[in-house]
Symmetry: C2
Subunit: 325 residues, 2 copies
């Protein structure tokens, strides 16, 4: 089957047909009209089999995840995801796999109201590379660079389930069936917090999505804002499933939540005077937003983890890195 | 070495810093301000080692080619390339390779005046996936879909050298040293015809870049414009090097030019009344633009190849396909 047929059969008609789209899949490039009052946000995320996902991961989960991971980057900027292009590298033409991937992508594209306007199919090790394009209110942005001294630090939802799910899928941690499904789905099918990002655009100073791991991602904010943070480990939100697995008084129990990554929750900093607005937003979205610490002056360690009266030792590995020394 | 350091050390500061760029590499997404009178063109192209380029291809050639191939997609739309994101998948951290890639990318980014605003580095088989973003005059576009009955068909520059260069590199065709360099460079370091694309925006009806092979790419225009073409094989422009290799009276001699691909010249259709404008543009750019045929009514075969009084039989393989039946 030719590349051209793959694109036609499996990549066309995915997501809503936006009025602003002048040319979509099938030409040398896609063309769209940006609205006058919006800037353009753009980000690329790649997932490689064996590195970012386990071999044999169902195609529908991959479709779900690659789009969510990319929409999550838009959420972290306060942008509304609108268009996507997909570079799909596949080892062979498996029409069953392609059909499942395509239908999974369609469902998620509808969910996020993102139109697939470009596609490129190549032959090689299974690799998904998605570029997402979003709209952002002019002169506004959620950046990693704008945290202010004294800001409260928040994280949305719960963290740690995705890493726990991966450990379970890898056979490292056994779980009861009901918990197993929940944490595996947290790993396979994360949700991008797009509405939260849009809501935070007028409230938060700095924001990042939790992809590398909570501590690693907070460290990115610290480095780029040239500040530090004190985090209260006991305030970090974890799910009931997570709690039921670990003895919460043990020292290791928070490692998945602190260093695991792949959560795609938003971590953000807000001026303390705006706590009420955060509370209102949490209520409006039906999504817990937990205050987990404060922005402090820069010290030798960017993120200082406190548990009760103790300062936890800094972990060497700050989250998921694809390359190690 | 961490992904973060790779991006910082090898992907930052590549290309001009456009005033319209609000946020570049180092945040969850890049943000730029689109001008009010322009639309946005976007395209993704991926190159996989062993599929799109030979193992051991020098990193500087790869950097050159991935950016040229992407800028070529902008050229084919009549868009001005402005920003790029690069998803780089590498098997291991080879700092020498990365430095060579980075410096090659820098040179080409300056050449095309494209700013690298996003990067993603992952671990896996060597794969380069670039997304290019360009600006396009509002309500104008060069598309594959707008060829008109009776249009002249043109191609820029020469075709066939890149495929000849690949065959030479693969040891299939031996050449004299001086020719060898020329055709190998045509394969390794193609040039995107950006200025030609911009010039054609007011002249041509349809346009495509020659990446899959001249006949395959003309067939894309035919299919999408629901028309056909008659191409005069003797009018197809080939280089002096190409001519010196082949006996131009033999039947096979034009195969590289017709089916080889990777030329990144522009093929386009123009109303015959505008021949003078094409001539003027050719002169202004110092670039040959050769009339090679006409747009005809759709028949069973989209592209009919004529040589003198003969109609050449349709080739089964219409250019470079990554997947074959």
């Amino acid at each position: 089957m030719a590349e051209f047929s793959i694109i036609r059969d499996y990549c066309q008609g995915i997501g809503p047909q936006h009025h602003s789209t002048r040319i979509d899949i099938g030409d040398d490039a896609a063309v769209f009209e940006p609205p006058n009052d919006q800037d353009i946000a753009i980000s690329t995320d790649t997932m490689v089999e064996g590195v970012h996902f386990l071999e044999g991961t169902p195609a529908s989960h991959l479709a779900h995840k690659i789009l969510s991971v990319n929409c999550s980057d838009m959420a972290a900027m306060g942008a509304l995801p609108k268009y996507a292009t997909m570079a799909l590298t596949i080892p062979s033409v498996n029409t069953e796999w392609l059909a499942e991937f395509s239908s999974g992508l369609k469902a998620q594209a509808e969910h996020y109201q993102v139109q697939l306007i470009g596609g490129d199919t190549t032959n090689g090790n299974l690799t998904l590379s998605c570029t997402i394009i979003g709209l952002l209110d002019k002169s506004k942005v959620l950046s990693r660079r704008n945290a202010k001294l004294g800001d409260d630090v928040y994280v949305s939802g719960c963290v740690g389930d995705a890493a726990l799910g991966l450990a379970n899928l890898q056979g490292k941690i056994a779980l009861e069936k009901s918990l197993e499904t929940q944490v595996q789905m947290a790993h396979y099918r994360p949700q991008a917090r797009v509405e939260l990002g849009l809501g935070l655009l007028n409230i938060a100073n700095a924001c990042i999505d939790v992809s590398d791991g909570l501590v690693a991602d907070l460290t990115h904010i610290c480095h780029q804002s040239q500040l530090a943070m004190e985090i209260n480990v006991d305030a970090i939100p974890v799910s009931a499933a997570y709690k039921s697995v670990f003895d919460l008084n043990s020292k290791q129990q928070m490692d998945f939540a602190l260093y695991g990554g792949d959560d795609y929750e938003l971590a953000f900093t807000v001026k303390p005077e705006r706590r009420g607005e955060v509370k209102d937003l949490s209520k409006a979205l039906g999504l817990p937003l937990s205050k987990i610490g404060s922005v402090t002056r820069s010290t030798s360690s960017s993120v200082c983890l406190r548990q009760g009266d103790n300062v936890l030792p800094a972990a060497k590995n700050l989250g998921f890195e694809h390359f190690t020394d």
